[in-house]
Symmetry: C2
Subunit: 355 residues, 2 copies
């Protein structure tokens, strides 16, 4: 069905009429000039992203439902990274004429799935047409707790550096998808029948899922709360571990020392890096989009975090004059460099797909 047959208000009504609000902080959702929310006794967290087709996602291999899910999830991740809980989501979307009402339904079903999984209310959004390409701009509002909002600038000398899950998997998933896409395009170019093109992804499901369907780490925030650990600094890893660690050290006026051998890796990530002839640690340090949490805790919390599920201590915060360092497996020490994704770089002929 053509979107124009419904019009802006018709489309919004069609996509949102079944939405119900589950949070007491959501007073009024879609349908007025503003949504209305209430947080009488808490700090409120606000984060916003803009995701551009061809820059942040490629619809050749990213289904719209997954894209909607991911767009919501990466916003939730920012709220968890402040030690908060996401509660409301506003999603602005601009679409060009390639897209049908069914496409929008798929996109929204992904957004809704993510919202349901994290008990977040979809309370608004603007819908527009676009001359070229899909744009998604989500804004998430969440609640913090008084005195327990965790910033990037609170790390201190001797704090332990921790990460959740494992790193580099989303990046390797992207490499795999990009490779298969180029094979497909090459076959097309050579005039081969590509209608049945179906790459074999057996044994690579995990890294693909990490790229296409990331999960925000609410579980980690909850584990820390249960263990009565308040991180001194925290952020989510969207641009790569190196880049994020430098943000924390820069804002906290500290140095850091990270041990390469402590960086958590998944088996599939390592195998795929090997296949691509890439250094897996480099992928883990600089590959983005893992949406794991990077946080620092006081040394006195060591006992509480050392055996925590899905948490790995990878190094420690040092005095600023020591700089930000990586100690490799062979005992050498290098400066950590932010080689993460730069969405405004211009040094390639084609703008880089993230990361």
């Amino acid at each position: 069905m053509k979107i124009s047959s419904l019009g802006e208000f018709g489309l919004i009504k069609h996509l949102t009429e079944k939405i119900t609000l589950c949070n007491s902080s959501s007073v009024k959702g879609i349908g007025d000039d503003c949504a209305v929310i209430k947080y009488p006794d808490r700090p409120i967290l606000v984060t916003s992203d803009i995701l551009m087709e061809g820059i942040h996602f490629d619809l050749t291999y990213c289904p719209l439902k997954h894209l909607g899910y991911k767009a919501a999830m990466v916003n939730f991740s920012d709220v968890y990274a402040m030690n908060g809980t996401p509660r409301q989501l506003v999603v602005n979307i601009a679409v060009d004429r390639r897209f049908s009402v069914e496409d929008m339904e798929a996109l929204y079903s992904g957004i809704q799935l993510a919202c349901d999984a994290h008990q977040v209310d979809l309370i608004g959004g603007d819908t527009s047409s676009s001359l070229t390409g899909l744009v998604i701009s989500p804004t998430c509002i969440g609640e913090g707790e008084e005195g327990r909002v965790v910033y990037r600038n609170g790390a201190h000398d001797t704090d332990l550096i921790c990460v959740s899950g494992n790193l580099g998997a989303a990046f390797m998933g992207l490499q795999l998808l990009e490779r298969e896409k180029s094979v497909y395009l090459q076959q097309q170019k050579e005039g081969k029948n590509t209608t049945s093109f179906q790459p074999d992804f057996t044994g690579k499901e995990y890294i693909l899922e990490r790229q296409l369907k990331p999960e925000a780490r609410r579980d980690i925030v909850e584990s820390l709360r249960k263990a009565d650990v308040l991180p001194t600094a925290m952020m989510d890893i969207s641009d790569g571990l190196s880049s994020e660690l430098l943000h924390i050290c820069n804002q906290s006026h500290t140095g850091c020392l990270v041990y390469e051998e402590r960086i958590p890796l998944d088996y599939q990530t390592a195998v795929m890096a090997e296949q691509f002839n890439m250094n897996v640690s480099t992928c883990a340090l600089n590959g983005g989009e893992d949406y794991e949490l990077l946080f620092t805790v006081k040394l006195s919390d060591y006992e509480k975090v050392k055996d925590m599920d899905s948490v790995r201590i990878i190094g420690r915060i040092t005095r600023p004059e020591w700089g930000c360092k990586l100690e490799t497996r062979d005992g050498n020490t290098f400066d950590l460099k932010a080689q993460g994704w730069n969405p405004l770089q211009e040094d390639k002929e084609e703008p880089a797909q993230k990361p």
Copy 2:
């Protein structure tokens, strides 16, 4: 200067380092995973827009500073339309390679000018590259007062319908700009020297300003507050009077009767409509982007609003079975129809510039 020479973080730092926060509700601005705000005793209003190049604006005649100003202002307008006060703004921007650091400075200076005029804090935003065209997605957060948030659904039979300012001016300004643009393009096509092309806009400044530099009507919200008038329903006029009135009647389950002769018009709007051989009332009813306030008040508030500065009573709310009607100057009655701007229409070869 090339944006790529600064990178994402460098650009954000460059554009935002001088920003200071003026509202007590703004706890933490740009620089972390989320901004942090606090509203301990008030309902919070949230509104968001997405503005696409070629759809919502044309950089041929819209300077970047004006564009930034307008993007912020139309968001503020939505907060005023709920009887609220805008306090925080988040602006996401995606730019392609045509744009320089200086361009971004111009855009931000317009945003900042609007923020300063309304005491709004710029607390965050995402910056990305775009393959084609500029995208601006602003989100505004404002405060309401308990029990005094005004929705679209509160109008009742016998309420008076009021509008602020005058209508159709922004639409006529757009017509004028579009005409001069097509003259310019025609001259270019004919190989004429267009470097000195400078249309004479004398006597048309007002309608151009209404299109290029709209002002959100905080003054009207303040006047109503001072006069102790709480509108029963309110919204801002972005898509045209007819369209907005139908929203209010639809959501309030009422009809309405509007008198054509009561619709406020500016002299320049009327002159320009005459020149374009357009019916000025049609322009006022269906032209968008005036960002005036449309509101309904109880009949008992008549004395308080009848002589209010910049406010005109244009009709009244009726029972739903009477429908939504316009009484023309010659005494005929027609159904009001929403012929306002549809950002998802597809019936033209080129996507329509708003409205």
